[in-house]
């Protein structure tokens, strides 16, 4: 005890002194940007979204880490990515970070964020416009699906980054529970969904699993998107608020509430935690859940039996391209060249296929995998992806073009609305106000 206390105190002094020294050093050094050079002709580009460590439960980080390392390996001696990982805790923090860097011209050569963040950062004029590079290499440009750049471009035709995924988000359902309730197939209309709900409920099953945030909003999106005019709302008008004035939105919101009040949804559907929706579905207690293709790995891991994956009732499907975008703050031609090489590398068929296998998130490029490749992909999600052209309505999800405040407000007010503590108008006005705050 005697000597440990003594050593401990000494150590603590060192720590404090060290901390203060580090502090002086830290405040002295400014944020450097792209530094070309180093070892002769190799062009070094900085990357704030390239992780140097990847937790094993985070397939995206694992993929990104392997991907930039593979890039460095492939272009050894020509280009080199120097990771400078920035790890935001929240979407807001990330948005603030990049907008500040854009305003001060200190963006790194490569970074990725939600397309709406990239768009507002680009207003400062320091985000690289990649449109000329796409024009230059028409093969590259044409490798993308139509509208792939819609989320990252402005009216002047400038394009501020490349998309890295197309997500088709459908509804998973438990075939065993459907059979137990005497239902033969997945509902194709909303009325049928309500009927199936009461059958499922009667058979002792939770019909639909929701969480008060992500899954709930996916269903809100489906209810809006499968009405005529819904796609337009979700693509453009949703960012502007005034929801209570839109009959499509009012109808969808009230139907979603009805699903709750008729007992179609799990009793703990208000936590705002994905867990409360996923747990009952994975445990085989809930019959349906809306979610993206990445959930298939979880379903496989839990051993949930006989799961189907279908488009929404009303013949709709959430399809989002470019909700996240890779952008660049490079401003010398050498770095720009390296950045474009990276973007091409990322969106190559090989990397995009690897990403789909590893993360369950699909490519935004025109690419038909070979039969042997298809086998490596998850069959459930690939089926939905391959059916996309036949779907009547496709639309982005509600989170695509709304602010973080919108979702925070949703989590906060949704339980109150469902319990009758707010009218539809009050609820939608609160959402509008949160969205307009942005």
């Amino acid at each position: 005890m005697k000597s440990t206390t003594r050593w401990g105190c000494a150590l603590a002094f060192l720590v404090i002194a060290g901390g203060l020294l580090a502090a002086c050093g830290g405040s002295g050094g400014g944020g450097g940007t792209s530094s070309s050079g180093g070892s002769g002709k190799e062009v070094v580009i900085t990357c704030e979204s390239c992780p140097t460590t990847a937790p094993k439960d985070d397939p995206f980080s694992v993929f990104y880490k392997e991907m930039w390392e593979a890039f460095n390996e492939k272009y050894k001696g020509t280009y080199r990515i120097e990771p400078k990982p920035f790890k935001p805790t929240s979407d807001e923090e990330s948005a603030e970070h990049f907008e500040r860097e854009a305003a001060t011209g200190t963006l790194s050569d490569l970074f990725t964020d939600q397309s709406n963040v990239i768009r507002s950062a680009a207003e400062a004029g320091t985000v690289l416009n990649i449109a000329p590079f796409l024009e230059e290499d028409s093969a590259w440009k044409e490798s993308f699906v139509p509208e792939a750049f819609a989320s990252a471009s402005n009216e002047a035709g400038e394009i501020f980054g490349v998309p890295e995924e197309t997500d088709s988000i459908g509804i998973y359902y438990n075939k065993g529970l459907f059979a137990k309730a005497g239902i033969g197939s997945f509902p194709t209309t909303w009325e049928q969904l309500l009927e199936d709900c009461s059958k499922l409920k009667a058979s002792g099953t939770i019909p639909f699993a929701m969480d008060g945030d992500w899954v709930t909003q996916l269903m809100w999106t489906n209810l809006i998107g499968t009405q005529p005019g819904g796609e337009k709302f979700l693509k453009h008008e949703i960012s502007e608020g005034n929801y209570a004035d839109n009959p499509i939105v009012v109808k969808a919101t009230e139907f979603l509430k009805q699903m709750h009040t008729e007992g179609c949804v799990n009793s703990d559907a208000f936590s705002g935690n994905y867990e409360s929706a996923a747990a009952p579905f994975l445990a085989g207690e809930a019959a349906m859940i809306a979610n993206g293709p990445w959930m298939t790995s979880e379903i496989a891991a839990e051993g949930t039996k006989e799961v189907g994956y279908e488009r929404s009732p009303g013949d709709g499907l959430i399809v989002v391209t470019g909700s996240a975008v890779w952008a660049s703050g490079a401003h010398d031609s050498e770095s720009e060249e390296a950045v474009i090489a990276f973007m091409k590398f990322l969106t190559s068929e090989e990397e995009m296929f690897t990403k789909a296998v590893k993360t369950g998130s699909y490519w935004p490029i025109e690419f038909t995998p070979s039969a042997s490749q298809v086998k490596k992909l998850d069959p459930l999600s690939y089926k939905l992806v391959s059916e996309t052209p036949e779907v009547k309505y496709t639309y982005p999800n509600s989170k695509f073009d709304t602010s973080q405040q919108f979702s925070t407000e949703w989590i906060n007010d949704w339980p109150a609305y469902v319990q009758g503590g707010m009218s539809t108008e009050e609820f939608l006005d609160a959402l509008s106000a949160a969205q307009e705050k942005q």
């Binding site: 500040r100 009793s267 936590s271 339980p415």
Partner: protein
């Protein structure tokens, strides 16, 4: 609340000396003796330096910053002074008013339930009933656990599908799928119930105070015929005024800044029914409204100071009747 931070009740710290009269005399002599500590100026200054640096950087400067910037529109992009605009906005902001009311509710739960429960536990265990040491450990244990862990515990307890509470209610024949934390009517009390019975700190302080009451007082009371319950009510309780005041201050400081539990359990929902001042300040910080967040912070700190001063007056904290 289970933050283990006793509040020094003394005005000037000098009253923090140990209780024994001998030691008190001794200290006076030290001071008298040490007065000619000439030549010690430099080492004393060096010795105080780490404390001064740490305290200035992490207490004084932040306090100054929070007050000054509460008068500004401050965010990640920049700062511009708007003087009292934040405060006038605050009082017309329904979310702030709700947060203020909820915080008051939690304070009341602390003062009117946690403190009495703790004092009662302290009085009972001070009677040295059988197994009092074990009981003291049992009642204190929940206080040693973090508020974050308690929040996770109660998220499970309140869960409508597998939670303990609904299981018990179900076994008793009631409806058993109530979502306690997300029902407008039950959310606030449900949150308070997660910590209101963890009165271990109050209990410990009460027990220590009772131990310090001189035997003679009880002897005199026994002559008057008081014993057991009567003695506890008419002799012990009035003598505990000082320690009850201290406990009230402790509980108020913890509840005024209550954050962890609501952040984890409800994020302030449903419809702000469990939003607290600290959580609202954090939310405004997260959305980049730093000036506004600091205006809430100033209110929070101001309320803390008012509470301390008021309770000290009310309970004449620092004075004992024995």
């Amino acid at each position: 609340m289970s933050e283990l931070s006793p509040m020094a009740a003394a005005d000037d710290g000098l009253q923090l000396s140990p209780p024994s009269a001998a030691a008190r005399r001794g200290r006076r002599r030290v001071l008298a003796l040490e007065r000619p500590t000439r030549g010690m100026g430099v080492p004393i200054a060096i010795s105080l330096l780490p404390a001064l640096v740490l305290f200035s950087i992490f207490f004084l400067v932040p306090l100054g910053v929070v007050i000054v910037t509460s008068l500004s529109d401050w965010g990640p992009i920049g700062l511009s002074f708007t003087w009292l605009a934040n405060f006038s906005d605050l009082f017309s902001d329904p979310a702030f008013i709700t947060a203020l009311k909820n915080t008051a509710f939690f304070c009341a739960a602390g003062v009117f339930i946690q403190v009495p429960v703790g004092v009662a536990l302290g009085i009972i265990l001070s009677q040295r009933i059988r197994g009092w040491k074990v009981l003291r450990t049992i009642y204190f244990l929940p206080n040693i656990v973090s508020i974050a862990a308690l929040a996770l515990v109660y998220l499970s307890v309140y869960n409508p599908r597998y939670g303990l509470l609904n299981q018990i209610l179900g076994a008793l024949g009631f409806a058993a799928d109530h979502d306690w934390l997300f029902d407008l009517n039950t959310a606030l009390p449900a949150v308070a119930a997660t910590w209101v019975f963890t009165a271990g700190v109050v209990m410990i302080l009460t027990m220590a105070e009772i131990a310090a009451i001189p035997e003679e007082i009880y002897d005199a009371a026994a002559v008057d015929g008081a014993s057991g319950w009567t003695q506890a009510r008419h002799v012990t309780l009035p003598l505990l005024r000082n320690v009850i005041g201290v406990c009230t201050i402790l509980v108020l400081l913890a509840t005024i800044g209550y954050f962890d539990g609501v952040y984890i359990m409800t994020s302030g929902g449903p419809a702000n029914h469990t939003l607290t001042l600290a959580l609202y300040s954090f939310q405004e910080y997260s959305s980049g409204h730093w000036g506004y967040a600091n205006a809430i912070g100033v209110v929070l700190i101001g309320l803390g100071l008012i509470a301390i001063v008021a309770i000290r007056r009310l309970f004449r904290v620092g004075e004992r009747d024995f």
